[in-house]
């Protein structure tokens, strides 16, 4: 029997072009994308046709989750440190160096009352998340409005901070009003609401 001769073919595919493309895409993503900030709660912001972007720096983020818990964050680590020191002085709490460093992490939100803050800052990231789930956020009630304290302190540290409110679209209005009226009380009546982009309807 004659052997069927199979022709040996070279199966080598040149991946150079493919590699070129992927590197290009990668570069594109690295240059244009910005990381999704880690937040204690995921909120879905409502859409609007506004085209103004969030400022790049000097932002105070007030996060309101659907249940009304309020979280707070400042974007500059050095500011955060100073704010924490000032808040500590105001409420007679001294924070250790370790706690201050912990607070300076961009993922550390103020999400507890000042009394619990010391305990909160000793935890690592994963435990902080769990801790936040059990607590009630920054107190905003009129008798003990720590939100206004934080913002006033932040403003005294850095005058240029602008306030943006990021709330979930299903948050009942009274819970948002608590925050806006707090801001009005301390004469911070200029702030912005964070929204996602939606297209302008046809014809406008």
């Amino acid at each position: 029997m004659a052997k069927i001769k199979t022709k040996k073919r070279d199966t080598f595919i040149d991946m150079t072009a493919m590699s070129d493309v992927t590197v290009l895409l990668l570069t594109f993503f690295m240059l244009t994308a910005n990381f999704i900030p880690i937040e204690p709660v995921q909120v879905i912001t409502p859409a609007s046709v506004m085209e103004t972007k969030v400022p790049d720096y000097n932002v105070i983020t007030v996060l309101i989750e659907p249940g009304g818990k309020v979280y707070l964050n400042f974007d500059r680590p050095n500011d955060k440190r100073e704010i924490l020191e000032k808040m500590g002085a105001r409420y007679d709490i001294t924070f250790s160096e370790q706690e201050k460093t912990n607070f300076m992490e961009p993922t550390t939100f103020v999400g507890v009352s000042i009394a619990q803050l010391k305990e909160y800052l000793t935890l690592d990231m994963e435990d902080q998340k769990n801790f936040l789930r059990q607590t009630n956020g920054v107190p905003t009630d009129s008798a003990n409005n720590q939100l206004s304290m934080w913002i006033q302190t932040a403003k005294s540290v850095n005058r240029d901070l602008s306030i943006s409110i990021k709330a979930d679209q299903t948050t009942p209005y009274p819970l948002v009003r608590v925050v806006t009226s707090t801001l009005q009380d301390i004469k911070e009546n200029r702030f912005s609401l964070i929204t996602t982009l939606r297209n302008m309807p046809e014809g406008f």
Partner: protein, 223 residues
Amino acid sequence: MAEISTGGGGHSAKKGQPKKMNLRVDFTPMVDMNMLLLTFFMFCTSLSKPQVMDLVYPVKDDQILNEDEKNKVKDSKAITLLLGKDDKVYYYFGKIDNAKYQDYNSIQEADYSPNGLRAILLERNADAVNQMIALKRQKLHKEINEADFKEMSDKIKNDPDGQVVVIKPTDESTYRNLVDALDEMQICSIGKYAIVEMSEGDTFLLQNYLTKGVYGSEREIPR
């Protein structure tokens, strides 16, 4: 895997001639790694930055409108939106008067769809909307520059005879309703709007409408 194969083979090469090297590098692992990185970037980043809607709230002390603004609200140009529950919005024109209290149909219902609130506002604010559209077209055709556009659109929006909108969110409305209402201001080129808390009269009107007059017949008309 990455191979550097020597091409040909010994016997075909002439003696003394340097061996021809076939330098072919396999890029597959490189592509693999790139794809991995790419997926990582796609999952962990967002391309679009969130937008912001700038708001200026009145200072609390002068929450009560001053004389000048009061006159404006009295104007028939004013429209008041009451943001109700279940994504409904109720509106009335001008100020509240006795006739409005008597008739429970004095306020009307709409929703946030293009045919609802937007249609009403567009009709009321047709002048400004048309001017804005014309202006935007000019900008598109590069007839005017960015700064001029801004100045002129500000002028249109802040026309003293323009439409005034008062947004009053009820306790049952959600944050989304508020943003939607504010968004309509943007779409309908309304420059003068304010977020104001519900007054007693507004609550009365709304309840009266929802209960088809029963609420009003049982209660005294608020002053």
